[in-house]
Symmetry: none
Subunit: 197 residues, 4 copies
């Protein structure tokens, strides 16, 4: 597969898949339904994707690629590690809050896929994990974060927290404002539960 430039059908199909999966759920999203939503014939799908799983992997790669690189570009302009972290959380929440369909697909529907697909999804997430690691390292270098932090564990804490918060928000049908929680989450991650003295 080449770049997505000048491959309008490729993107049509991916966008159709996001919509169909978000609205019908993973298991009710037949290839024929995606094709119809994309306005192409069933067979056309297979000119652009190897099989059904490949649609989903590609979907995740394209969308999460965008998701991650937007965060990346934003935080590299900022020097202060805590501000970097705030931006990361803010953009994580913002991007998902702006695209409910995508949020549903990545947080809920794609997780009920096969182990093999989830391994490929994890591959994509590695880029995000590395970015978190770099923010934490920067914080340590800047004397803002404790120097003896277990980097991997911190990353799991940050990602696990954000992921759980977004998933809960979606399960509550986006009834409250996700984005206004950014500062509170940041505060919690940075300072923990304990009373300071």
């Amino acid at each position: 597969m080449n770049t997505k430039i000048n491959r309008p059908k490729y993107n049509q199909i991916i966008d159709a898949a996001v919509k169909v999966i978000a609205e019908n759920g993973y298991h009710a999203s037949q290839v024929s339904k995606i094709a119809k939503q994309a306005g192409v014939a069933d067979g056309t799908i297979y000119l652009y994707f190897k099989n059904k799983e490949d649609i989903l992997v590609s979907l995740f790669q394209e969308k999460m690629g965008d998701f991650i690189s937007k965060i990346e570009k934003a935080i590299e302009k900022e020097t202060d590690a805590i501000e970097k972290l705030r931006l990361l959380i803010s953009m994580h929440f913002n991007q998902l809050a702006e695209d409910h369909h995508l949020a549903i697909v990545t947080q809920l529907e794609l997780r009920q896929s096969s182990k093999e697909l989830r391994l490929k999804i994890n591959e994509v997430l590695k880029g995000y994990f590395i970015m978190i690691d770099q923010v934490v390292s920067a914080g340590i270098d800047q004397g803002l974060f404790q120097s003896d932090l277990n980097n991997k564990m911190v990353r799991q804490m940050i990602f696990g927290t954000l992921d759980e918060i977004v998933t809960n928000w979606i399960m509550k049908d986006h009834k409250y404002d996700l984005v206004q929680q950014v500062d509170e989450v940041l505060e919690l991650i940075v300072n923990g539960l304990a009373v300071k003295n």
Copy 2:
């Protein structure tokens, strides 16, 4: 469904389901395979469970019920909120480390079930969430945790962190010792990333 007392087949089937799903994966775990592992006929399954999903929900209820009530009993003997939290983390990790099959099923395989099943699973988890809330409240009452904490968010942070850590451990094939990370996780949750002064 009655109580599980004197319903040996009921438990046979649930234990068979855990084993079959852990070893074959969710999608390769047909009812007939579970029946064979349990040593009963396919049709017998339906004398104890409404349908396949009901096996999985019941499995989760039984196993998570145990899981939660063991933690509950342990932490109620402790008064100090931080020690309660340490125990909660410790027992969370311990119980999953002691039963790899169960860990695989609850952390990975059951998550590829339908949205409906996951809603029921969340129902079961509510008991755990309440327990976390109580620990946090106790900490606030005891002057150990900040009084203006957003209780729901704190719970999402704690659960999200523990869940992500356990899932990573399983995806790395249990290659390292989960239990020895307890204190480090506790420290991170209680004190956050920031340098104290």
Copy 3:
């Protein structure tokens, strides 16, 4: 698969396959059509056969097994090699003349199957080839046939001749009497084209 005794559905399905293939042709004989003709559900087919090809192989094995063993039993009662050969030809023609459906399936339809299936079909035919070889050997031993015959080539001549004659008869829609040609064919095989002196 056990013996066919007490497996009524097994035989129902095979007989349905013969009828459906003879009437609709190989390529228009879907599993669902065979199931309907057999009076069972589609899925039932797969309780008795591994897959569609297995129906065809089994069909051939069952029917050709009968076909061959009937000829076998008949010719072993006869001692004279030429009479054995006459019986072989006679029963070959008779059995196919008596079951037009089976004749169509084995002579025409099953030959448009995949190379793999045809290899398995050849396996079954080996029993027939051995029988022909034995008749020829007997004829040599009895001083009736030439002693320097190439046994394999003779077998190919006999089988090729019978097969071509039956196929032509079927392609002419069984319009003439196959069985009354037995003596003429025997004469041709035994004495060849040449004028005797």
Copy 4:
């Protein structure tokens, strides 16, 4: 279809079909594969052939046309009927032995085509059958063959024998020399199995 003169692509496509079918088997020989082998676009095929079946029929017509007319030219130079028959067998074997691809396609692969295709193939073979009939008639006229032979049956015997021998040779992967069997086959056809006196 016009004559093949000045229709280079027409022959390119037919030769590509022979190669592709011989190497991949009938069922794995998609139109697109033949087009690629021929060095033309898929759509171009349909400028020269009505549909896929038409490629195969034309292939058979072209190749068998050659096959038959070469035999025809050879035997008309010979007057003795037995020598005619020897030449016919010899050239039948020789031509197929010299072009393994063609032999595989005509003896094995094309036979797994639909009944309709095989009817058209038979049409082409009629020319060959007539030629055999003429050789047999010549033999009778020359007093070499019995006068009361059933011409049609003799033709089926001769063709069935040659066809079966060639098919066996191909199924044994051309492991032995087909051509050196000519005299033995001729002897068998002319004199039959019986001892002469």
